[in-house]
């Protein structure tokens, strides 16, 4: 197993004691594509970031088991974590505008990621950067390599981010809302690209999103989170057979073109979901 999580809890100190952001989450991930879906504040991002130990400094994290490829992440020291972060596990974030360095060309940033993790001369790294850009299906990789982030569209920026993450050839890719800042058509392209790369390279993928139907097209399994808990986990193809009222609610409250409704169904939140 690539990732094994058992009873993960993430807490934050507040004025009135500890608030629990993630409660008793258990999941495993092999060379497969797992989607984590939930609304803002459900703890989906925190769960994924726990694997990289990239949590806010005031977060308190406990778990019966939190392992990456057999390495205990709870006891691992900073150098050991650095060997995982970015090298064996890559993170793609929501908005490439904020995660790319505005004063470096796309090619230089990818080349730097390459050199940090694999060494080699500048020339080799620059060539590798262009290869990587070609792998993320950029038609004119040499031109994009020479462009600055502000000269790239949102979708193009996200491709550059993905290329950068692929440089060290990671085993796990965590994508945190990778497409919610993008247009629908670009969104589909990027997700298809990620899915394709992950399948071809035999990586594990953790795709975090608030859009349940969308995620189901690109994942093998989907875990639905609500208020810090996984309320339901099921194969992506069987979402229509979801039993938890929250999962059903997420599917039913979306307006659709194919099934017009006069009024949208509004989710009735049941306090018992919290227990």
């Amino acid at each position: 197993m690539l990732v094994e999580i058992e009873n993960l809890r993430v807490q934050f100190p507040t004025a009135t004691g500890m608030s629990e952001a993630v409660r008793n989450v258990s999941l495993t991930l092999g060379q497969e594509k797992l989607g984590i879906v939930g609304e803002s504040g459900s703890g989906k991002s925190l769960t994924a970031r726990s694997i990289m130990r990239l949590l806010p400094s005031n977060a308190r994290i406990t778990a019966d088991r939190l392992q990456f490829d057999g390495i205990d992440l709870l006891t691992a020291d900073e150098p050991a974590l650095r060997r995982i972060r970015g090298r064996r596990a890559g993170l793609i974030m929501q908005d490439p505008k904020y995660s790319l360095n505005p004063v470096m060309t796309a090619g230089a940033q990818i080349a730097e990621a390459w050199r940090v993790h694999r060494g080699g001369s500048r020339k080799v790294a620059a060539q590798a950067a262009i290869d990587l850009l070609a792998q993320v299906q950029i038609r004119d990789p040499a031109r994009v390599a020479g462009s600055y982030p502000h000269e790239l569209s949102g979708g193009m920026g996200q491709r550059v981010m993905i290329a950068m993450m692929l440089a060290p050839d990671p085993e796990l890719l965590i994508a945190d809302e990778p497409t919610s800042a993008l247009d629908a058509s670009v969104q589909a392209e990027i997700l298809r690209l990620i899915e394709d790369l992950v399948s071809r390279r035999g990586m594990g993928l953790l795709l975090i999103s608030h859009d349940l139907p969308l995620v189901s097209h690109f994942c093998d399994r989907v875990a639905v989170m609500y208020a810090g808990r996984i309320v339901e986990e099921l194969p992506a193809g069987e979402l229509t057979r979801a039993t938890h009222p929250y999962t059903r609610g997420l599917l039913e409250c979306l307006p659709t073109l194919s099934h017009p409704q006069r009024r949208l169904k509004v989710m009735q939140r049941d306090p018992s979901w919290l227990i």
């Binding site: 139907p213 189901s216 097209h217 509004v266």
Partner: protein, 260 residues
């Protein structure tokens, strides 16, 4: 009946780029008109020119028969209001809900401020206890309700909606869309809704304009859009994608990702 909104041959430029290239549409009173397109298609630019935020336009625009000039009258700002995409960014961070809602009333020298604020909060289903909260103490959905209440304070005829639900969770989106539909019924409002989400536009609007590269490539009814009676390939592409991705995997096949 006379048109509530009439836009003809509207051009808007940003510096040297032509963001909107001569588009025309009309909206009847009480009608919902949707503008869809990808980012950069110019849909939001049309809305900002209409609202008076962008004065650098040429062409003809009229609200209820009155032609618009780059400089708008106070009465215009009373009759046409706007709701923005990001409900946190559109509320002043240092002002309470009460202050936010009273601002349009003070500007337009309206009476019964107390009653109007209470009624405004009730209309968007916010409890009175929210009245003296700051935006950061509210959830995303509550903030968007405040923004809607503020837009309605001056009793407008036209409300311009710029991606009003795209920053919200899907469950909250449903609540806000229902609220917008109810308010329109109750107040006989005319909406112009801009969104990249075809399903949202199709849900709320009777007629839809599809924009691409600053041009309005097709105007069609929501009925036709749902049934797939589209003429322009861009509309067809947007529709196909939306229909394919809105259903969960396994609900209907063959989807674009099936067989992989």
């Amino acid at each position: 009946m006379a048109d509530m909104i009439d836009v003809a041959a509207l051009f808007v430029r940003f510096g040297s780029t032509q963001a909107v290239k001569g588009i025309s549409f009309r909206v009847a009173p009480g009608e919902n008109f949707g503008l869809v397109g990808e980012s950069g298609s110019g849909k939001s630019t049309v809305l900002r020119a209409l609202s008076g935020l962008n004065a650098d336009w040429t062409g003809h625009m009229a609200i209820a028969g009155t032609p618009l000039t780059p400089r708008r009258s106070r009465d215009f700002y009373r009759r046409v209001q706007m709701v923005f995409q990001d409900p946190y960014g559109s509320l002043h961070p240092r002002q309470t809900v009460d202050r936010l809602l009273s601002e349009p009333l003070l500007v337009h020298r309206m009476d019964n401020i107390e009653t109007r604020i209470r009624r405004g909060l009730a209309e968007v289903a916010l409890p009175d206890s929210m009245r003296f909260r700051y935006p950061h103490q509210l959830s995303g959905g509550q903030r968007q309700r405040v923004a809607i209440a503020r837009a309605l304070m001056s009793e407008p005829d036209v409300v311009l909606l710029d991606e009003p639900t795209s920053a919200l969770d899907v469950s909250v989106q449903a609540e806000v869309l229902n609220l917008l539909a109810d308010l329109q019924q109750a107040r006989r409002l005319t909406y112009v809704l801009v969104s990249h989400n075809l399903a949202v536009v199709g849900h709320l609007c009777q007629r839809i304009g599809v924009m691409q590269g600053g041009e309005l490539v097709e105007t069609l009814t929501a009925e036709d859009l749902r049934a797939g009676r589209v003429k322009h390939p861009h509309t067809a592409a947007l529709r196909e994608l939306s229909v394919e991705l809105e259903e969960p995997e396994g609900a209907h096949d063959p989807g674009l990702a099936s067989g992989r």
